[in-house]
Amino acid sequence: MSRNTINSLGLLTLVLMVAALFMVFVYVPTEAVQGIVQRIFYFHVPCAWVAFAAFALVAISGIFYLWLGQQVWDDLGYAAAESGMVFCTLVLVTGSIWARPIWGAWWTWDSRLTTTLILWLLYCGYLMLRAMADDTPQVARFAAVVGIVAAADVPIIIVSVRLWRTIHPAVLVTRQGTHGLEDPRMVATLLVSMAAFTALFAWLLMLRFATLRTRTRLSLLARELGRTRAAVGDL
C-alpha cells in the first residue's frame, strides 16, 4: 500500500465529503414531519453501514488469518476493528442526539439501538484483548477467533433483541415510517453520503493498515538486527 494510493484516497474522500455536506445542508429539502433535525439521518445511516461492513471485514480477515497464517490478514483485521469502532461510536452518538428531539429520550431500548450497543461492546472487548495481549505472540490467533465468534453471534443477537422488543410494550413510536424517503433528492443525498463515508472508511482503514504494516516490518527488522549483532559477536 503506497503512500500515493492513500493520499489520493484521502483526496477523493475530501471531495465526496464536501459534496455530501453541500447536499445535506443546501440541496436536500427539509423533511416534513421531523423538520431540520432529520438531516442527521444522511450521516447517521452511512456511519452504521460502514461500522457493520468493518465488523464483517474483521471476521473475514480472521478466517483468512487462521487459514493462511499471513500477518497481512491480522493487520487488516486489527485496522478494520479499530476504524469500525470509530464509526460504531459515531452511530451511537448521532443516534442519541437525533433521538432526543424526536423521541424525547436520549436512549430507548429499541431493537436497532440495542443491537448496535451490543456490537459496540463486543468490539470493545476485541480491542481490549488486542491492547492487553500485545506482548504475547499468539494475539493474532486469539483476535481472529474472537472476531469470528463475535460475527457469528450477530444473527442470534438480532433475532433475540427483536423478539425481546416485540414482547415488551412499545413505549415510544418506532422509527419505521418516520423517514420514508419520498423525495428523489433525499435518495440522491443519502447515496452521495454513503459514497463519502465508504471512501472515508477506506482511507482510515488504509492509514491504520499502513501503521500496522510498519509495525510488522519494525519487529522483523528488530529481530534481524539482533541476529546480525549476534553474528558480529561471534566473529
Binding site: 492487553m132 457469528a152 453471534d153 433475532v159 433475540s160 433483541v161 423478539l163
Partner: protein
C-alpha cells in the same frame, strides 16, 4: 472417547477431593442472590418471577466465568496443560472435556442458586422448577461452551481474568435475553409452550457456540 472420559474424570476427581471450586461457586451464588434481594427489594411469591429469574441469571454468569477460568487455569498453573497437549488426545476432545467439566460445576452452582431463590423469594418446590430446569441447563451449556473457548484466550493474557467477562458477557447477551424471559415465564407458572420461542434461541445459541468452540479451540490453545 477414552481421552475425553479420562480428562473429565480427572477434573471431577480433583474437584471431589478439594471441592474448592464448587464451594466457591455455591457461596458466590448465595451472595449474589442476597445482593439482588437487597438491591431490588422484592415482595416475594410468584409476582416476583421476573426479578427472581434475573437474579438467577446474574448468578449463572458469575459462576460460569469463575468455573471456566478454574477448569483451564488449574491446568496451566503447574504445566499440566503442556502435558495434555503432548498427549495423543486432540484439542477438540480436550475442549469437550473442559467444557463438560465447566458445565457440571455451573449446574451444581445453579441448583444451589435455585434452592436459595425458592427460599428467599418465598416460592414453592413444584412443577415450575421442573420447567425452569431445561432453561437453566441450556443457558449453562451455552455459557460453558463460550467461556471455555474464551478462558483459553484470557488465561494467556496479562490481566486476562478481567478480560474474560468483558468478552463473554456481550457474546452471551442473546442467551441472556432468552434465558431471563423463559425463566420468568416458567417461574410465573406458564407452560413450556409459552416460551418455546426463547428455548429455540437458547438451543441455537448452544449449537453455535459448541460448534465454534469445537472448531476453533485448536487455534487458541497451545504453547507456540
Amino acid at each position: 472417547m477414552g481421552a475425553f472420559a479420562a480428562i473429565l474424570r480427572k477434573d471431577l476427581r480433583l474437584e471431589s477431593r478439594g471441592g474448592e471450586s464448587t464451594i466457591t461457586l455455591v457461596a458466590l451464588s448465595l451472595l449474589i442472590l442476597v445482593v439482588m434481594v437487597f438491591a431490588l427489594n422484592p415482595a416475594g411469591g410468584a409476582g416476583d418471577a421476573g426479578t427472581a429469574a434475573g437474579a438467577l441469571w446474574v448468578a449463572l454468569i458469575f459462576s460460569g466465568t469463575i468455573g471456566a477460568t478454574r477448569v483451564l487455569t488449574a491446568e496451566s498453573a503447574n504445566g499440566c496443560l503442556r502435558a495434555l497437549l503432548l498427549s495423543p488426545a486432540d484439542r477438540a476432545t480436550l475442549y469437550c472435556a473442559k467444557m463438560v467439566a465447566a458445565f457440571i460445576f455451573m449446574t451444581v452452582a445453579e441448583a444451589a442458586a435455585v434452592v436459595i431463590m425458592v427460599l428467599f423469594f418465598n416460592m414453592d418446590f413444584d412443577i415450575r422448577l421442573a420447567r425452569l430446569a431445561p432453561v437453566l441447563a441450556l443457558g449453562a451449556l451455552g455459557f460453558a461452551a463460550l467461556a471455555t473457548l474464551l478462558a483459553a484466550i484470557s488465561g494467556r493474557v496479562r490481566a486476562g481474568d478481567l478480560l474474560l467477562p468483558l468478552l463473554a458477557v456481550p457474546l452471551f447477551v442473546p442467551a441472556l435475553i432468552a434465558g431471563v424471559k423463559a425463566s420468568g415465564s416458567a417461574l410465573a407458572g406458564e407452560p413450556l409452550s409459552a416460551f418455546s420461542e426463547w428455548l429455540k434461541i437458547l438451543i441455537a445459541f448452544d449449537v453455535l457456540f459448541l460448534s465454534a468452540g469445537y472448531l476453533l479451540f485448536e487455534h487458541v490453545i497451545g504453547e507456540d
